[in-house]
């Protein structure tokens, strides 16, 4: 079922790529679009930039995320509750907001950091620049951290400490043990996160456009966007995406190959154990500092910049430094009086909750089918389920529109929900796959021989054991969906509003201050929701 829902828009999009020109007004000449794509002289430079950017930020984000997960799960770093939560908050920051904040911070001439250096130390050089490959990787890499953290935390929390202990006994030093034993065991989840972050990087739009193109660094996605926005040619856009699809499939093949011997990595064996917290001595202050640094860079500093920006009449360095003498609430007044802000906010909250729940459940069912049943062709689902990630959101959104047009779903909130489901299902699937291969098959088999059938194994064994990572994926998809613009935009309709689309409009028309104000409102709601979930209801987000 899930497979069909995913496959339909994907097939439509692929079919569209073979139809040519002007929105398929002329449905003919297969291959013409592809010919154009591969005849493009700049294509290799574009691919090169895209790969550097995507790989750089994926590696940065995933390594940092894994490190943070390990610190939180396995060390006696002080301030446990806070430390657990700090790596999660940055996820709440909408992507454009991050770019705005970091451009304001890092801009060569007008940026806060360079001016601070000038004022404080008299350094005249432009030390930082927001417009470079390095800055792009920095900003997007920071955004990649929470996903890796969410993927890896359950793994570090759930595997057998005896595996580590035996290494200690064999005389291995803690750092060595971490590198040689602990991290290799987390390889499937790590690769899952790395692959996902890499694919996200390949498709990401805001950072390359806002920080890359001013530096002359053009990536592949901007060409796709051009073919959509200059030529209005989805066929061509899809043909360009074919390279993206190719890259994605290659990435996935590498991933599947590496994790082929899934049992080798099984860490939840059904041999009971206690999660062992390692006393790292005075190093615990360093680890606290690391987590706190990420918290600062990932959300606290950009958040403060955004708040200040939303409260001053306009941004330049002098205005920024005059705060709070020049405080001004007019931006908030405008945003809260926006005609569709409140209803859009409500829609986005409700829909994101539902979609996150449905996607996570479907992801587990599919991962279970892939890894635990011998159903014919089930391995193929892994690819199909992940394919939506290979498509630029707007192209995917178009496939969905074509799929539902003419049905009663069209122009309804249901269609929007379906679109979000297709877009976020891959995350749920990857997450569930990474976790299911971590559960040793014996746990299933033990249920089998004690009289359990598939449904019993699924509901009484797999699902409860997966709960920690399910909570993580749910949280992640919820937060991503509640900020979605690209997929939602074609599926919104007269009377069907979606909060983030409204908010993005402020940014589009250049009203960064209002956009910041709206972003701050969203962020405050999300932070409050997260904190309440964590503390008041004791819902464990990652365990």
């Amino acid at each position: 079922m899930a497979g069909a829902v995913i496959l339909a828009p994907v097939l439509i999009v692929v079919f569209r790529s073979f139809t040519t020109a002007r929105l398929g007004a002329r449905v003919a000449s297969a291959g013409e679009n592809y010919l154009r794509v591969f005849a493009d002289a700049q294509i290799f430079a574009l691919i090169n930039n895209s790969l550097l950017y995507a790989a750089g930020s994926a590696v940065l984000g995933t390594v940092v995320g894994a490190l943070l997960a390990w610190i939180v799960a396995r060390t006696n770093t002080p301030g446990k509750a806070l430390v657990e939560l700090m790596p999660l908050y940055p996820i709440l920051m909408p992507p454009i907001m991050k770019n705005i904040a970091w451009i304001l911070l890092l801009a060569p001439r007008s940026g806060i950091l360079n001016n601070l250096l000038k004022d404080t130390f008299g350094i005249q050089e432009e030390v930082f620049t927001a417009f470079s490959l390095g800055a792009m990787i920095w900003v997007f890499g920071l955004a990649c951290v929470p996903l890796a953290y969410l993927f890896l935390l359950p793994v570090f929390l759930s595997f057998d400490p005896s595996l580590e202990e035996s290494a200690y006994i064999a005389g291995s030093k803690p750092v060595r043990t971490m590198l040689r034993i602990t991290f290799p065991l987390a390889v499937p989840a790590f690769l899952s996160a790395l692959v996902l972050n890499f694919l996200r990087g390949l498709r990401s739009f805001e950072t390359p456009v806002l920080q890359g193109s001013p530096a002359g660094i053009n990536v592949f996605v901007s060409r796709i966007y051009d073919s959509m926005s200059i030529e209005y040619n989805p066929g061509l856009a899809t043909a360009y995406s074919s390279i993206l699809i190719l890259l994605s499939i290659l990435t996935l093949l590498v991933y599947v190959r590496t994790t082929r011997f899934s049992e080798r990595f099984a860490t939840i064996t059904g041999k009971g154990y206690r999660v062992k917290v390692i006393d790292i001595g005075k190093w615990k202050y360093l680890t606290f500092f690391l987590v706190f640094s990420y918290f600062l860079a990932g959300i606290a500093i950009p958040f403060v910049v955004l708040i200040v920006t939303s409260l001053i009449p306009y941004y330049d360095y002098e205005m920024f430094m005059k705060f709070p003498a020049n405080i001004d609430f007019s931006n908030y007044h405008r945003v809260l009086n926006h005609p569709s802000f409140v209803s859009g906010l409500y829609n986005s909250l409700a829909l994101s909750l539902i979609i996150a729940a449905v996607a996570v459940l479907a992801g587990i069912v599919m991962a279970f089918t892939i890894h635990r049943t011998k159903l014919y062709g089930s391995k193929g689902f892994e690819f199909v389920g992940t394919l939506p990630l290979a498509f630029p959101p707007l192209v995917l959104s178009l496939g969905l529109v074509i799929m539902v047009i003419g049905t009663p779903l069209y122009n309804s909130l249901w269609a929007l929900g379906l679109g979000l489901f297709v877009a976020y299902f891959p995350y749920a699937l990857r997450n569930a796959s990474g976790s299911i291969v971590n559960i040793h098959k014996e746990l299933d088999e033990a249920a089998w021989v004690h009289g359990a059938r598939w449904r019993h194994v699924f509901f009484q064994i797999t699902l409860p054991i997966l709960k920690p990572s399910v909570a993580g994926a749910f949280f992640y998809i919820f937060v991503e969906a509640i900020r979605n613009v690209d997929v939602a935009v074609l599926l919104t309709a007269p009377g069907v509003e979606y909060g983030p689309v409204t908010l993005f409009d402020y940014f589009r028309v250049g009203q960064w201050a209002e956009a910041a104000a709206g972003g701050v409102i969203y962020l405050v709601i999300l932070i409050a929701a997260t904190s309440i979930a964590k503390f008041a209801f004791n819902i464990k987000l990652s365990l």
Partner: protein
Amino acid sequence: MAVLTVARLAKTFNEVRALDHVSFEFGHGILSILGPSGCGKTTLLRSIAGLEVPDEGRIDINGKVQTWIAKGIHVPPYSREIGFVFQNYALWPHMTVYKNVAFGLNLRRLPREEIKRRVQRALELVGLEGYDPRYPSQLSGGQQQRVALARSLVMEPQLILLDEPLSNLDAKLREEMRIELRKLIKKVNISAVYVTHDQEEAFTISDSVIIMDRGRIVQYGTPNEIYEKPANEFVASFIGHSLLVNGQVLRIDGRTCVFSVPEFGGATLTCSNFSDVVAGQACKAVIRTNEIKLNTAGSEPHPNSLRGTLLSREYRGGVADHRVLVGKKEIVVTSHRMCPLVDVSHDSGAVFLYIDPAAISLIGRAQGNGRRELHATGAENG
């Protein structure tokens, strides 16, 4: 009636024959399947449980067909009514001990009271009364092992399958559990198939033993039979504590066989365990070294005595290993430390080795590389 009948079972993984037309029949008691890793023993066990679908063959449990590939029959594991204890215990980490044990009974929708009674009884049986509210992570390895056992026993199966259940325990606990496990299985009076790679464990725990190598059964018999008369070189070397030498059969005198060993400088030995050998034939002799007696006093003319030179001696806990050179061959003889037959003052001197004829088994060398498929009880009813 046989509890378990396996006929011509075959299974190939990626062109490796895990099971090569295995057939045997097993009555009642405890059967060990013994072999080195990769010999197919686990695949055999999993096929019996229904967790693995073989490519060919038939499995009957208590006279009921469970798998019969030719007829397309494969009863799923949940309907086989067997017990299975996994190597890693496979306790569900999110359930308490009680819930782990009650899992199968709950699925059968038995009345609450009965479930409770049976779980308590099973936990008592394994000596874990009062542990029911705990989680597996709060138990020691041995306790987890017992929970896994209780979980299988509570279902009252007629056959319980155990896959190297003790391999995760430390040496001392393993020895204790071995005996306890045997007692327990005997007490509830069910049949068990026990997979292990530890021959000591297999010999202690079971009534009969199957030795497997490369997907085939190489010997099937009681522990004593296998110990006394290893079917071939492989079995002999696998069960250990033995020395393999090439020999030449000189003559057969009724119940004894006399042969010479070129490696021992052409010395002749007499043995009482032999079959399928004729005079003049080349043979292999399996000598159980822990039955060799060492002495410094010369009694060379005595039959089955060899003269050697003591090279060194190592004390190992309660026993001592003596390295003795006989002819060109170095032999390690283990003796009890407290009653040394060798005078310490005679170190590096001459020693005499007495080998009881019953401690030697002869294997004809013509036996196709020493590996031959055995159909111990001819259970060829597929």
